[in-house]
């Protein structure tokens, strides 16, 4: 979606509470936001959909606060990341152990399928990262956000993002080589 079209839709939402315009924004970004959460939650589709919905609802409620300094997608990912962070703090769940268990189970039942096995190996490598590392990897490698935007979304200095990225990449590479 072009930035001008995006701004026109946002203006319609803010001034006239045009929900159809907001629907178009949701339609444009739903895939990437849901994929972002799928990677952060290590494949929990139901949780990803819930978090995505909360993200869009928060975006709608706070749309007047969007100044247009950052792009709409950066602003949206920032809300999404905050939502994920709040969720992690609220639940205090040991997602790492759970997701590794789930992935291992799924892998065991479909061992004959090589492609699926390769997918599961990559996904397992992702699930072994910390929340912050997984978020950095997802934003930088999968969502193709530049370092500056990743830093802005996660509210971290660029240097910290770089070191998270380096550590995550070497951990994933080691895991993938061993598997």
């Amino acid at each position: 979606m072009k930035k001008l079209d995006e701004l026109a839709l946002i203006t319609r939402c803010v001034l006239a509470d045009d929900r159809q315009a907001f629907g178009q924004l949701v339609e444009a970004y739903q895939s990437s936001v849901r994929r972002f959460f799928l990677n952060l939650t290590a494949g929990d589709a139901a949780l990803s959909d819930d978090l995505s919905q909360e993200t869009f609802i928060k975006a709608y409620v706070n749309l007047r606060a969007f100044k247009g300094v950052a792009s709409f997608s950066t602003w949206l990912y920032r809300i999404g990341y905050n939502e994920f962070y709040t969720h992690c703090r609220r639940t205090h769940e040991e997602r790492l152990d759970d997701t590794v268990g789930i992935v291992t189970l799924m892998g065991g039942s479909n061992a004959s399928n090589d492609a699926l096995e390769a997918n599961l190996t990559v996904q397992e490598a992702m699930s072994r990262l910390s929340d912050t590392e997984r978020a950095v990897v997802t934003l930088f490698y999968i969502e193709d956000k530049p370092l500056k935007q990743v830093a802005r979304i996660m509210n971290l200095p660029e240097g910290t993002v770089k070191s998270h990225l380096h550590r995550a990449k070497s951990r994933m590479t080691t895991f993938l080589k061993n598997n």
């Binding site: 006239a16 509470d17 629907g23 739903q30 990677n39 494949g43 959909d49 490698y141």
Partner: protein, 102 residues
């Protein structure tokens, strides 16, 4: 700027990482859950009503002040009737704007 290695690593993650298939119901579900919000149009209409109420009060004041009450003409009765209708419409609009849910 991404290095060649970064680009390859990214391609691997995109290809073999989690994929979110398009969900046609997702947008509708989000739209159904959006909270009610007061629109700017409502506030503009409320401001118009407030200005009209002030003008209406001034008209009533002028109407009462300028009349000779020893003689009641058909013109006077028509003026009062028109002003009464305008005032009632204004009160109705103000109430409906204040208490209506969009």
């Amino acid at each position: 700027m991404k290095s060649e290695e970064d680009i390859k690593f990214g391609a691997l993650l995109k290809e073999q990482g989690h994929q979110a298939a398009d969900n046609p119901w997702f947008t509708q579900r989000v739209l159904n859950r959006l909270p009610e919000r007061e629109s700017s149009v409502r506030w503009v209409w409320w401001a118009i009503c407030a200005v009209a109420a002030v003008i209406c009060c001034l008209c009533w004041w002028w109407l009462i002040d300028s009349r000779d009450y020893t003689v009641l003409t058909v013109r006077d009765m028509a003026d009062y009737a028109i002003m009464s209708v305008v005032t009632l419409v204004l009160i109705w609009q103000s109430i409906s704007v204040t208490f209506s849910r969009e």
